[in-house]
Every structure is written in C-alpha cells, then in structure tokens.
C-alpha cells in the first residue's frame, strides 16, 4: 500500500515537472502541429477527429443511452427477473476490503458517467457553469477510481480469467434469455462478469490515461512521443477519439452490470453490500463454484 502511495506521489510530481516545461502546443511545436494537419504522410487525426466528433460521437452516445436500457426494459417485460429464495444459507464471498474497493469505484462511476453525458450533450444543457462543473467533477472523481483500479484488478484477476466453460455461457448468454432456471456451470464469476471485469479494468485504464492527457493537455513526456511516433497534438487527438469510443463500450457494459445486479436477479445487489451470496443463486448461476464451496464444507 505504501509503495503504491509513493508511486502516486512520484507520478504527480512528474506531471508537475512536465507542466512546467515549455509549451508543447503553442511554442516551437506549433509548426509541427500545423504541418501535420491533414497532410498525406500523417494519420490525418485532426480531420478524423473533426469528422467523428461533429457527426457521430454524440449520436452514438445517445443511442447507447436510450438503446441499452430499452433492450433491458424489453428483457424485463418479456423474460423478467430471476427470483431465488434468500432464506437458504449464505456464503461470505466479499470481505470488507473487496466491498470498500468496489464501492469507491461504484461511486466514482456514478459521478463520472452522468457528468460525461452532460459534457457530450453540453449544447443541450446550454454550456456554462453547469457543464463546466460537470467537466470538473468528471476529472475529480477519476482520482478515487484511479486509486482503486489497481487493487480491484489484482483482487479479482484470478476469478476473471476466461476458461472453456465461458464459451458455453456466451452461446446461451448465461441462460438469461429463458424464464427457466438453468444450472449454469460457472465459477465465482461467469463469462459476463469476466467480460465486465476486463472492460472495466483495461477500459478504465485507457479512459484514465486518455482523459489525463486531455486534462493536462500541455505537458511534455518525451517517452510518449518515442513510443507512439505521434506529435503532441496528434496524441491529444488520438486521446479524444479513443476516450469517446472506449466510452461507448464502457457505458454500455456498465449499464448491463447495473441491470444484472439490481434487476435481472432479484436482490443480487445485496451481496456486494453485505458480502453474503445466497446459496440458491450460487447453485444455479455459478454451479462450478458451488461444488467447490460444497467440498470445502461451506453452506
């Protein structure tokens, strides 16, 4: 933990040093930035960004914002909730550390995602103080998420590695398309949860990095130029494109996560609040895990 804090402090001070150097956008580099725009030998990221941002990004976000909940509303109406008795035995699956880390990430997401939408539809909200506040909160709440993302990644990585059973899970979408309760041979996390883990952890890192680039904007980290071969302004353009595209995916899967936990399986959300999972839920939805727990004498 202490090492982690040191690393964070080092990173912050490095960022300060980077900010204190000459401008990478409006100084000498401006010539490179201007010459690079839309020329044959460049990636034309300026042109691409303008095209995508002006024509598509907001519409895709609107599609995700309306489309994903619509699909789940239909699922709720047609297939409905899966209800398992909560009167049977329980297993203590998430300790206080797990839950704390998860809750910090959860609260961050509750702020980051709505404020992100306010920025995307900033013209609808008329700009100014409200959208500026949203932008600032969007950045500030990235800090707690950035702090917990590594411990969260580490604490669940063992459970999140895909195995062959997961292919079967994907073939029937975990049995969520039928009203019947099927026995699903999943481990502690099923393939859907694993998918969310990877989207959240890897996608989260991508969002943090691309967001930080846009937030700090005028900084100098030589390594990044060498690594990507892009000029500074092109890195910013790439960040903006990546941040939006990753945003579509992250938001869509986040909505899924909320729906599954809060609606699709009635009361499942309590397991991450209290730490206890219900025997019947585990037996049906995570049968491989259930067998293992049984062997150990749990339940």
């Amino acid at each position: 933990m202490r090492k982690y804090i040191y690393a964070l402090i080092a990173l912050l001070s490095l960022a300060t040093v980077a900010l204190a150097t000459d401008s990478q956008i409006w100084g000498e580099m401006r010539i490179q930035n201007i010459l690079g725009y839309g020329q044959e030998e460049s990636l034309k990221l300026g042109v691409w960004f303008t095209f995508l941002q002006s024509k598509y990004f907001a519409w895709v976000f609107l599609g995700v914002l309306i489309g994903v909940p619509t699909v789940f509303f239909l699922h709720y109406k047609i297939v409905g909730q899966k209800v398992f008795p909560h009167s049977h035995k329980k297993h203590y699956a998430f300790n206080l550390f797990h839950r704390t880390i998860h809750q910090v990430a959860a609260v961050s997401f509750m702020v980051i995602i709505p404020t992100g939408f306010i920025i995307v539809f900033g013209d609808f909200f008329g700009g100014g103080t409200l959208v500026r506040a949203a932008k600032n909160l969007h950045g500030i709440f990235t800090i707690p998420f950035a702090i917990v993302i590594i411990p969260m990644a580490l604490m669940w990585i063992k459970e999140a590695i895909f195995n062959l059973e997961d292919i079967k899970w994907f073939m029937i979408l975990g049995g969520y398309l039928s009203k019947e309760k099927q026995i699903i041979n999943a481990t502690q996390f099923n393939a859907g949860q694993k998918m969310w883990y990877w989207v959240c952890v890897l996608g989260g890192l991508v969002m943090i990095l691309s967001g930080a680039m846009m937030f700090f904007m005028d900084f100098k980290i030589e390594m990044l130029h060498n690594l990507t071969g892009l000029s500074h302004i092109d890195m910013l353009r790439a960040s903006a494109i990546i941040h939006n595209v990753m945003g579509f995916i992250l938001v869509a899967v986040f909505f899924t996560h909320i729906y599954m936990a809060a609606v699709a399986i009635k009361g499942a959300i309590h397991s991450i609040i209290t730490g206890y999972v219900e025997e019947e839920e585990v037996k049906f939805l995570h049968n491989a895990w259930y067998k293992k727990l049984k062997e150990k004498g749990k339940f």
Binding site: R30, G127, M214, A240
Partner: protein, 200 residues
C-alpha cells in the same frame, strides 16, 4: 448586395518575422502572459528556397472545424465570416484545439487543479457576444475595433504590410496587384489559405 467575407492573408514574400503583429495584438487586447493569439512561425527553416515566415492566428475558416466539434456550441459565425465564441458558455474541454489546423485556440490555466479555463483566440478584433465596446467585452475578448470602424490591430501595425485583412475581394485585389508588380513571382498562395477558405 452580398455580405463581405472577411479573411486574413499573410504575404510570405513580405513577412520579415519581426513579431510586431504578436506584440501589437497582445498589447491591444491586454492579453495575459502565456497567451499569444497571433504568432509568427518559420516553416521549412534552413531549406533554401523553401523557408518562409508567416503569421498565424485563427483564420476564421469557412465551415470552421472548431465550431463543428464544440460540445457546448459556444461558437457563432458572423455574417461576414468572423468566427467568434462565447467564453461564458465555453467549458475549456480543448476539442476546438484538436480540430483546428492552425493550433489557434489557447487555454489559460486557472483554478486549483490547473484545470483549463475558457478558450481564448483571435476575434479579428471583433469582440464577443457581450454588449459592444463594454468594459465586460474588453475584459473577456479584448478590443472591438471592427465596431469602431478600425482595421484589426495586427494588420494595421504590420510594418511591411505582409499581413492583410479585409473582405476577400479587396485582399485578392491587393495580392494580385503585388504579384503583377513583381512580375508574377511568388504566386503561391499564403500558407494555410487553401485549408482555411477551401479556395472559395
């Protein structure tokens, strides 16, 4: 009568890289340190025959990319083509800079976390959406010389008259006369002219 279309033109055969336009602009609009709405750059430096100096700022482009990407729609384009923006609407996201071919939009650092303040760029000395020539307008956008019937300060102060500004036709006439006078040499149009105005 059709509206005039205001354009900038920097005659590269005349620009002597004196930086007078940058200073004139910064002084006239009382810009904070670190903000330069206009900058003189030298491209292809050291390559004989190709090296040119030119003065860049917001070109007030046709179909301005900044206006297209702004998430809060803070830009507005005047009838005469001058691209202006509302600093009270701007959230300082930086998208306009990513879209701009000239690196014109700049962001002063303000606030506790060094977050970006409202964007600042050349207004072609036409102020902003606030009451014309009000103290408020001057504070946020600088002088509104156009409203006073004056030429934008950079072009007015240019010692070699390399930097021209005005309605497209007048600018073209001046350039044409100059090219004719020097026997057709230096016909190449100013850097960025095509990009900004799409040969219109």
């Amino acid at each position: 009568m059709e509206n005039a279309r205001m354009k900038f033109y920097c005659d590269e055969s005349r620009c002597i890289e004196c930086d007078g336009c940058t200073i004139a602009c910064a002084e006239a609009h009382e810009l904070p340190v670190g903000i330069a709405r206009r900058k003189v750059i030298t491209i292809h430096e050291g390559i004989p025959g190709k090296e040119v100096s030119t003065s860049v700022a917001c070109m007030h482009c046709t179909d301005a990319p900044c206006e297209q990407v702004c998430p809060v729609d803070c830009f507005y384009i005047r009838e005469d083509g001058v691209v202006l923006h509302d600093k009270n609407k701007c959230i300082g996201c930086g998208y306009c800079l990513y879209a701009c071919p000239f690196g014109a939009p700049q962001f002063p650092r303000e606030g506790i976390f060094g977050s970006k303040g409202a964007m600042d760029k050349c207004t072609m000395c036409a102020g902003g959406p606030l009451t014309t020539n009000s103290h408020h307008e001057f504070e946020l956008y600088g002088q509104n010389r156009i409203a006073e019937g004056k030429v934008p300060v950079c072009a007015a102060m240019c010692s070699t008259k390399a930097l021209l500004v005005g309605d497209a036709e007048s600018v073209s006439n001046v350039i044409r006369a100059r090219v004719t006078a020097r026997g057709g040499k230096g016909v190449n149009s100013s850097y960025g002219w095509d990009k900004a105005y799409k040969n219109q």
